[in-house]
């Protein structure tokens, strides 16, 4: 299981680095991890996000809305759409920023034992963030972060009880 988790984390971080580059960010942040998770081919997290009405595109839209909303809070309305559009960075970031580190730390800490780590722990860590871009974007998208977090925790413990994950026979909700 640890191997499966390790492979998953590597692929998510790799994808998150691409997302960060697309957004012109110099570091990988929690929102890039969330985009990467939404793009990943992993059943549990995909189902959890789908429950909240989220896929890769919806997460991207929510993040853009959060950006524009927060600018509005500052009294800034950017009429020039060119400025609001993300500009791809010239190099792919390799460092995780504070928000991504925090999400990874919290996600990993939620597993009592390394061998209990599941892909959904990364999503859980992101959902543990209480302030900042991701929780705000989720709130603006009408996602109940606490409920989604509870469902994620439940999915992880169901998975733990089932033992090694097998593709068919998903735990019922």
């Amino acid at each position: 299981m640890l191997q499966v988790f390790g492979r998953y984390v590597r692929s998510v971080i790799e994808r998150a680095a691409e997302e960060a580059q697309e957004a012109g960010s110099r570091t990988i942040e929690a929102e890039h991890l969330l985009l990467a998770i939404a793009a990943a081919d992993e059943d549990t997290t995909r189902e959890l996000l789908a429950w909240a009405g989220l896929d890769h595109r919806a997460v991207g839209d929510a993040l853009q809305r959060e950006f524009e909303h927060s600018l509005g809070t500052a009294g800034v309305t950017a009429a020039d759409q060119e400025v609001l559009r993300p500009r791809r960075g010239e190099r792919r970031p390799s460092d995780a920023g504070t928000s991504a580190k925090l999400a990874l730390e919290r996600g990993m800490a939620a597993a009592g034992d390394k061998k209990d780590l599941r892909p959904a722990h990364i999503l859980l860590g992101i959902l543990e963030l209480r302030a900042g871009t991701v929780p705000r974007a989720l709130a603006l998208a009408g996602v109940d972060r606490r409920e989604l977090r509870a469902r994620t925790q439940a999915a992880i413990s169901d998975d733990g009880r089932q033992g090694p994950p097998e593709k068919p026979g998903k735990a019922s909700r």
């Binding site: 950006f67 400025v83 500009r87």
Partner: protein, 77 residues
């Protein structure tokens, strides 16, 4: 860009998010503005002076991006 007025203070979370968003906006505005200036034939030194940073700083931050965007750059003077 249009109007910027400082609104009455709100929830601290909103205000902190506004700080993050305006920083990011400033970064994007810098990218756009530097590219426009360089396309208009400004030198690195002139752009640096206008931004209040060193020429090295502006070159390091923007040169590769501009070359990739196909901007013909003047010599680094």
């Amino acid at each position: 860009m249009s109007g910027a007025e400082v609104p009455a203070s709100r929830d601290p979370g909103e205000e902190l998010a506004a700080v993050v968003a305006t920083r990011r906006l400033a970064d994007r505005m810098e990218d756009v503005a530097v590219e426009k200036a360089m396309r208009a034939g400004w030198s690195w030194s002139e752009v640096a002076e206008a931004l209040g940073v060193t020429r090295q700083a502006v070159h390091k931050k923007h040169a590769r991006k501009l070359i990739e965007a196909g901007v013909r750059l003047r010599r680094r003077t």
